[in-house]
C-alpha cells in the first residue's frame, strides 16, 4: 500500500534499538555495501538483510512491497552493466542497489518517523553555527514523507478528471493540472503550519 517505508509497529529488538544507532549502523552498512568485492559477498549480505527482516518480524508482503520497486531498477541497471562490464560486475551492482534500498527500508519500517526526526534534529545541532536550523531540516523531511501519499492521490484525481472528460494523451495535459493542485496543497499546508504555531 505505502509507496515509502512507513513505520510498522512492533517490539523486536530492532524496533527497540535507538534511532540514532540504527541510522549510524545504516550509514556504515551502506558504505560497506559499496566495498563488497564480488557476487558471492553481495549474495551473502543480501541473505543477512533478509534475515534482519525476519528478525524484525516484517511480514513477507510488506518486505516485498518495500523491495519490488528497486528490483525493477536493479534489473535495468544490471542488464546494462552486463554488456559493458560483464556478468560479475552486473550482479554486484544490481545486488548493491537492492541491498542499500532494502536496508534503508528496514530502518524506516522499524523506526517511528518522530524518532528519526529527533535524531536528525540533534545531528544538525553542530551546524547551527553556520545557520542551519535542525528542527526545520527535520520538519522538511517529515513533510516530504507525508507528501508522498498526498501527491499520489492528487495524481489519481487528475487522471480521473482527464478520463471523465475524454482527454488522454500529452504530458503537459497531465503535468500542468497536477502541478497546480500540488502548489495549492503546498499553500494550504503552509497555512496549516502557521495556524499550528510553526515559525511563531
Amino acid at each position: 500500500m505505502s509507496a515509502l517505508g512507513v513505520y510498522l509497529p512492533g517490539d523486536s529488538p530492532l524496533h527497540r534499538a535507538p534511532a540514532g544507532a540504527k541510522l549510524l549502523g545504516l550509514t556504515l552498512a551502506e558504505a560497506g555495501a559499496v566495498l563488497l568485492p564480488g557476487p558471492w559477498s553481495v549474495g551473502a549480505a543480501l541473505a543477512v538483510v533478509a534475515g534482519l527482516y525476519a528478525f524484525a518480524r516484517v511480514p513477507f508482503r510488506v518486505a516485498w512491497a518495500q523491495t519490488r520497486p528497486i528490483l525493477l531498477i536493479a534489473l535495468l541497471v544490471g542488464g546494462f552493466q552486463m554488456f559493458g562490464a560483464g556478468v560479475d560486475r552486473a550482479l554486484v551492482v544490481a545486488g548493491q542497489l537492492v541491498l542499500s534500498v532494502s536496508l534503508a527500508g528496514l530502518v524506516t519500517l522499524t523506526t517511528r518517523s518522530a524518532d528519526l526526526l529527533d535524531v536528525i534534529e540533534r545531528g544538525c545541532r553542530p551546524l547551527r553555527f553556520v545557520g542551519v536550523d535542525g528542527a526545520r531540516v527535520a520538519l522538511v523531511l517529515a513533510l516530504a514523507i507525508r507528501a508522498v501519499p498526498v501527491v499520489a492521490a492528487l495524481t489519481q484525481e487528475v487522471r480521473e478528471a482527464q478520463r471523465a472528460r475524454g482527454v488522454t494523451g500529452g504530458l503537459t495535459a497531465f503535468a500542468v493540472p497536477l502541478l497546480v493542485r500540488t502548489l495549492r496543497y503546498a499553500d494550504n499546508l503552509g497555512e496549516a503550519l502557521a495556524a499550528r504555531g510553526v515559525d511563531d
Binding site: 500500500m1 505505502s2 512507513v6 513505520y7 509497529p9 517511528r112 518517523s113 518522530a114 528542527a135 520538519l139 517529515a142 513533510l143 514523507i145 507525508r146 501519499p149 498526498v150 492521490a153 496543497y185 494550504n188 499546508l189 497555512e191 496549516a192 503550519l193 502557521a194 495556524a195 499550528r196 504555531g197 511563531d200
Partner: protein, 224 residues
C-alpha cells in the same frame, strides 16, 4: 472577546472585506454566505493568519498585527481540507507535533497524546499512517491536533464540506460537544441549529447578524 474595528481587507486591488465591526462573545457563532463573499478571509483574520489591510482585530485585547503568536495559542484553526492539515506521517506523531514547543517532557506528551486519541476515537490508529484514515477520521485527527493545545476559541473554515454525511455528522457532533467557543464557517446550514448568533456575508460585508433562523432566512432570500 474577539473584536473587529472597521476592518477591511484587499488582496492587491481586489477588496474582499469592507467595514466589518463586530464584537464576538458568544459560545457559538456561525458564518454563512456565498462562495467568494469573504467568509474565509474573515475566519483567517481571527487568528492572525491574515492581517487586515485597514482597521484592527483584537483577541482578548491582543492585536493580531503584533501578537500573532499569543493569539494563535488561544485561537485554534481547523481548515476545510484535512489532508493539508496533517503534517507528520502517522496519527500519534501528528498530534504530538502540536506539543513540540510546549516544554512538556516526552512522557507527559505521550500521555496527553494517548488521552486525546482516546477522546477522539482514534486510539486504534495511533501508529497508522495518516493517509489510511477516512476523510472524517482525518478531520477528527486535525481537530485532535488543534485541541490538544487547549485553545479557548476554535475557528473552523468549512470543516465538513469535503465529507460525506456520516463523516460530517461525526465532526459536527464533536464540535457541538466542545467546551471551547466556536466560530464555524459553513455551507451546511443545519449545523447552525442551537447557535447563539449567525453572521451572513455578502460581497465582503456583514449583511445580517442575528439568531440562526432569521439569518438563514436572510441568506436564502439572498441566494434566490
Amino acid at each position: 472577546m474577539i473584536r473587529l474595528d472597521d476592518v477591511g481587507h484587499a488582496y492587491g486591488d481586489r477588496t474582499v472585506l469592507r467595514d466589518v465591526s463586530l464584537r464576538l462573545t458568544e459560545a457559538r457563532v456561525g458564518v454563512i454566505g456565498a462562495n467568494g463573499s469573504g467568509k474565509s478571509t474573515f475566519a483567517r483574520l481571527l487568528n492572525g493568519l491574515v492581517v487586515p489591510t485597514t482597521g484592527r482585530v483584537t483577541v482578548d485585547g491582543l492585536d493580531t498585527r503584533t501578537k500573532g503568536r499569543e493569539i494563535r495559542r488561544r485561537v485554534g484553526f481547523c481548515f476545510t481540507n484535512p489532508d493539508a492539515q496533517i503534517v507528520l506521517p502517522t496519527v500519534a506523531e501528528d498530534v504530538a507535533f502540536s506539543l513540540r514547543r510546549s516544554g512538556l517532557s516526552r512522557a507527559e506528551i505521550a500521555a496527553k497524546v494517548t488521552d486525546t486519541l482516546r477522546r477522539f476515537d482514534l486510539s486504534d490508529f495511533a501508529d497508522a499512517s495518516a493517509h489510511l484514515l477516512s476523510g472524517g477520521q482525518k478531520q477528527l485527527l486535525a481537530l485532535a491536533a488543534i485541541l490538544i493545545m487547549e485553545p479557548s476559541i476554535l475557528v473552523c473554515d468549512e470543516p465538513t464540506t469535503l465529507l460525506d454525511l456520516r463523516n460530517a455528522s461525526m465532526v459536527s457532533e464533536l464540535l457541538a460537544s466542545l467546551p471551547q467557543r466556536v466560530v464555524l464557517v459553513t455551507h451546511h446550514l443545519h449545523l447552525l441549529d442551537g447557535f447563539d448568533r449567525v453572521l451572513v456575508f455578502d460581497q465582503g460585508r456583514v449583511v445580517c447578524d442575528a439568531a440562526p433562523s432569521t439569518a438563514i432566512d436572510h441568506y436564502r432570500r439572498l441566494m434566490r
